[in-house]
């Protein structure tokens, strides 16, 4: 029932007496017990709902959160992490109700809640127009220094690999990268995944370095 409500397929006007549930879902935070103890209890209840094994429940929680953040980012939310956490809080409240029942992939339940929250979010927030122009020269210089520093932290093989992967300057990029994958003896998709991981390491390193220099 909740999934149907959250997916917008079930409406109060159909006379099913679900008004209070819909209200809970949409304005859950208004009825939340503010005490930390209750919030923790609700959160633990939600984890048990995800999986009775606490370790597997934690992994599922992390994975769903990661994907929700990605979706919220794609939907243009300015702070997708915060919104995802609020989504979890709200689901925790709902799942703690004694009469709660849901069948199906829990990820989709979260998705339904998140969709509603996105609508709320854009009712109250303004979307900031993106500024993709280059930063100040000082900022560019700091980032450039950080990139050098973080490149040096990579293993020699990863460093050479990322420079070659992104060092393509002429000709079709897909052909170039296919040839590179052939030379390395791996499928192109495996190469893409590997490059993504190296790049993420490098990006996180540069971000941390930049923040520490600004501070």
């Amino acid at each position: 029932v909740a999934r149907a409500i959250l997916l917008g397929r079930l409406r109060d006007r159909r006379g099913l007496g679900l008004g209070s549930v819909i209200k809970d879902v949409r304005r859950g935070t208004e009825r939340v017990d503010q005490s930390t103890g209750d919030a923790n209890k609700q959160f633990q209840g939600m984890l048990r709902w995800l999986d009775l094994d606490s370790e597997r429940a934690g992994q599922k929680y992390e994975e769903i959160r990661r994907r929700l953040i990605f979706i919220l980012r794609c939907r243009g939310c300015s702070f997708p992490d915060d919104l995802a956490d609020k989504c979890f809080d709200r689901v925790a409240q709902v799942t703690s109700r004694p009469n709660f029942s849901y069948e199906g992939d829990p990820a989709l339940f979260f998705y339904g809640v998140a969709k509603l929250m996105v609508k709320e979010h854009f009712r109250t927030k303004f979307v900031v127009a993106p500024n993709l122009e280059d930063d100040l020269p000082e900022m560019k210089e700091i980032r450039s220094q950080c990139l050098d520093k973080c490149m040096a932290k990579l293993s020699p093989r990863n460093r050479e690999l990322i420079l070659e992967y992104y060092g393509h300057v002429a000709g079709p990029k897909t052909v170039y990268r296919s040839q590179l994958a052939d030379r390395l003896g791996m499928p192109i998709n495996a190469l893409r995944i590997q490059m993504y991981r190296i790049r993420e390491l490098l990006r996180q390193c540069v971000l941390q370095c930049t923040e520490s220099k600004i501070e």
Binding site: P156, E160, L163, R192
Partner: protein, 314 residues
């Protein structure tokens, strides 16, 4: 086009904000339930940033990207990071390509991705390995030879030291023989006449005291021409004296010589005082030696008379 490729294209449009509501929900459900497609979406998100900064997006895609994609802080970070990384990598690639061929190949060798060079390296490595093996075998052979030579030299050294020991032993024997001969020469007259004894420089005689015999009973000392000294050993019966005096007289009673402060010596369990005198001052004839005790405090005490005759032999 298979399902995966369709999904890829759909996700790419979704990331650019080009999907309608139904398509968007479909993509979102795929992302939530399909691990592989979610990983692909993450990679595509980065690749879109790359395509944007490298100018590979179409005009419409570029517009969509700028209006829909880069709306969050994290995505804007991805864009500047992509710009920085691509610029840096392209700059390094260009600088490497401008360098000599060998340098570029060296860089590739570091990551092991240039097979041709790797093959050459393998051949070179093989050659070096073979040379090393030959060198090691040669060294082992030389070491074995040196060991053999060393053993030979050690054997020779042992033989030489054994010979040296023998020679030392012979030398000691010769020395002891020489000592014996010297003693014999200083002792009995009979030894002096031995044909095996070398020419004498000293002629010696051993006398007892107080014996007075006729001219035929007196001991005769034969003095060859080459003898320079005579030595008369006077046997002393009293052993408690430390210094003696010997006085030499001829048959007419004239004193010919006197030697004082003579020390007694032990020879063959007997106490002997030696009187030594140049033979050239003694002509052939009879002589008498008087042995006295001279302690320097009182007059000398006569202990005994010793008689002998000298006979020169040319």
């Amino acid at each position: 086009m298979n399902e995966h490729s369709e999904n890829m294209a759909l996700i790419r449009r979704y990331l650019l904000g080009e999907t309608n509501e139904n398509e968007g929900e479909r993509v979102e459900k795929i992302l939530l339930t399909d691990q592989v497609e979610f990983e692909n979406a993450l990679i595509l998100e980065d690749e879109l940033s790359d395509d944007y900064v490298q100018g590979f997006l179409s005009k419409s895609e570029r517009l969509s990207f700028e209006s829909n994609y880069a709306t969050t802080k994290e995505r804007r970070q991805k864009v500047w990071f992509a710009r920085m990384l691509n610029t840096r990598a392209a700059g390094i690639a260009n600088s490497v390509r401008e360098r000599p061929e060998r340098t570029w190949k060296d860089a590739l060798w570091l990551v092991g991705i240039n097979e041709r060079f790797a093959n050459r390296f393998a051949i070179a490595y093989l050659c070096v390995s073979v040379l090393m093996i030959i060198l090691i075998l040669s060294l082992v052979h030389q070491t074995a030879n040196l060991k053999t030579e060393l053993e030979k030299e050690q054997n020779r050294g042992r033989e030489i030291s054994a010979k040296t020991s023998d020679l030392d032993a012979q030398l000691l024997d010769e020395k002891s023989r020489a000592d014996d001969l010297r003693r014999q020469l200083g002792g009995h007259d009979a030894n002096r006449n031995s044909p095996n004894v070398r020419p004498l420089l000293t002629a010696s005689l051993e006398l007892l005291p107080g014996i007075s015999r006729g001219p035929e009973g007196i001991q005769v000392l034969v003095v060859p021409q080459e003898v320079k000294f005579i030595e008369i050993d006077l046997k002393v019966l009293q052993e408690d004296y430390k210094q003696f005096r010997a006085e030499l007289y001829d048959t007419a009673g004239r004193e010919i010589a006197m030697q004082d402060l003579l020390q007694p010596v032990k020879r063959n369990a007997e106490t002997v005082v030696s009187f030594k005198y140049p033979s050239e001052y003694l002509s052939a004839g009879g002589y008498k030696l008087q042995l006295k005790v001279a302690d320097g405090r009182s007059d000398p005490i006569l202990l005994g008379n010793y008689y002998f005759r000298i006979k020169h032999r040319s």
